[in-house]
Assembly symmetry: C2
Homo-oligomer: 126 residues x 2
């Protein structure tokens, strides 16, 4: 199966790369629609799925809110606000050596390691 880079695919990846906001599929859909009014949400999901399989993006599963996508596939830290659902990047180092150690210990193959903080973001602490 040859990967054909459609313009929809490119646009979706571009939106994801141009933002640091970990958007939902619907947000991406709205952005892409500005320049490509006929694109459908199904196509957005389809391409997000492909990009994920290719390892170009990351899908973040969040209990209670629609999934979000991240153009940064490096292991890194996220903070998720339990109130508003937003996901912020946190600038903290991830211990790369640990991946090795855990892989050894468990026999699992590790592709990605992220740290996830949960709590309330500034705006949501009333």
């Amino acid at each position: 199966m040859v990967v054909r880079r459609s313009k929809q695919n490119k646009a979706i990846l571009r939106v994801l790369r141009e933002t640091t906001s970990h958007p939902t599929a619907v947000y991406i859909y709205e952005q892409v629609r500005k320049e490509m009014p006929d694109i459908s949400l199904g196509t957005v999901y389809r391409n997000l799925g492909l990009l994920k399989q290719e390892g170009k993006i990351l899908e973040l599963g969040l209990a209670g809110t629609p999934n979000r996508f991240d153009g940064n596939t490096q292991s890194h830290c996220h903070f998720r606000c339990e109130q508003c659902g937003r996901v912020y990047d946190v600038d903290e180092p991830v211990d790369r050596g640990r991946d090795e150690r855990v892989a050894q210990k468990t026999g699992f193959k590790i592709y990605y390691c992220g740290v996830q903080f949960r709590g309330l973001c500034k705006g949501c602490q009333s």
Copy 2:
């Protein structure tokens, strides 16, 4: 609003405490149904929601698979298999001091911090 501990609520919490498998709502439903055949899936979800609010359990959002629940609310490490969706506990220390540091730096309020590994579990490495 007084919290009344119904027997359904107790049974759901018990199932969650007795397993380390981070079950889905449906799995919990099936387990509880063995002793309480009339319980409905809606009730399971309702009680999981309540237990989550009380901070007695954790909900794990996983892209692509139904959410899973964890009776262990301590900050800890998970490994998630991208193939089969299973979630395993990983016995690695979580750096508690970092929560403080990140809270200071960002102004966010942090309730929980978990490390999430992704990859392939032993059984799924064909």
